[in-house]
Symmetry: C2
Amino acid sequence: MARLKTHDEALRLRLINRAAATVFDRGTAALSLRQLAADVKTSTSAVYSLFGNKAGLLASLYQEAARLFVARLAAVSSTGDPANDVIRLGVAYREYALANPHLYAILFLESAAQFESTEEGQRQIVEMYQPLVDAVRRGQRAGQFTTELDPEVVALSCWAAAHGLVSLELTGNQPPGLPIGESYERTLHALVRGWRGAGPAGQP
Amino acid sequence: MARLKTHDEALRLRLINRAAATVFDRGTAALSLRQLAADVKTSTSAVYSLFGNKAGLLASLYQEAARLFVARLAAVSSTGDPANDVIRLGVAYREYALANPHLYAILFLESAAQFESTEEGQRQIVEMYQPLVDAVRRGQRAGQFTTELDPEVVALSCWAAAHGLVSLELTGNQPPGLPIGESYERTLHALVRGWRGAGPAGQP
DNA sequence: AAGGCAATCAAAACACTGTTACGGTTGCCC
DNA sequence: GGGCAACCGTAACAGTGTTTTGATTGCCTT
């Protein structure tokens, strides 16, 4: 098993950085513990001492990816137009995903209920959602969104729209001849417009 | 390499069915060619003769999953209310995904630009999109959607919203305490409402 | 109709993978 | 300083996908 917090913090960092680099441009399936250990001039048992196993290493990468992601969203300043803030958060979401496709994949695609089900993972998810939920709440106060629903519900739908478009784009499941970049902001605008008024009933 | 269309079509079917069953309830990572061959009372080289390699086998599973998916969507009849047809297509989409999570994963999650980039894969994608595009086009004619955009764009946004919610649900990335099932139809309704009128400019 | 030939499947070897058991060295604490 | 636990290098284990080898088989041509 793993004993975590004694000696070589430096080795731990080197392993994490090298692993992140490999995953960053070749994916988690291409990450070999043997190769990783050789790259950092150590041996596989170091990985097992520090992270327990490969899943533990990937969990650490998950946390690192989440940290960067939260920072990216936090860098989106809030203006006096909350509805537009939601759009801008969505744009930042896509920018992060396109800039770090493999880290994004760790966060949202190949997680398969491994890290998120832990208490720490749940906390990370809530932290990632927070800026969007806040923007929606401000938008409700400003009369830009319906107040018949919890802000979390509206935020989830915006999150899912952004995630859906980005993930179709990254996995190559977009229909040919339809560049997603051109539809992206338009879709977010349409969704925001749809949440402007009206609950389950149909009138705007 | 593989020579495809000679002898044992029966063996090919047994392999596909068994592989589909395993992937269906344990995922592609848990699919071992050795175990698969043993289950069907043959040897690994049969797999290589028939499918080339594991990727080829998974490509065949992709086509099978796509076939089932297209059939599921085609089973959604079109009514006189196209906007509502879009919602019902979205519901069918989620039903398929929840009933066959691993096949859905093959189609949209772990594809990583393997099968979709082929010509056959592109054709499959277009075929899957078709019912939704048709419904949107009917909705445009009925005045339920803006006519300032191609129906493909509106359809893509609805597709992405459904895909986003379902994929967050399946991978466990939903924020705690927010069952997606309750927000699902509401989100689709909001999006349809948002596409009712107005192009890039903001007025409804 | 019989022989030759290419294709198909079985068995085993190869090059990997993650993981675990074993030892020696190292650093800390009493 | 000495005892002791922890860390990490080496090597073995179990499993994977793939390739090679070889034998059987079924079809096709002469």
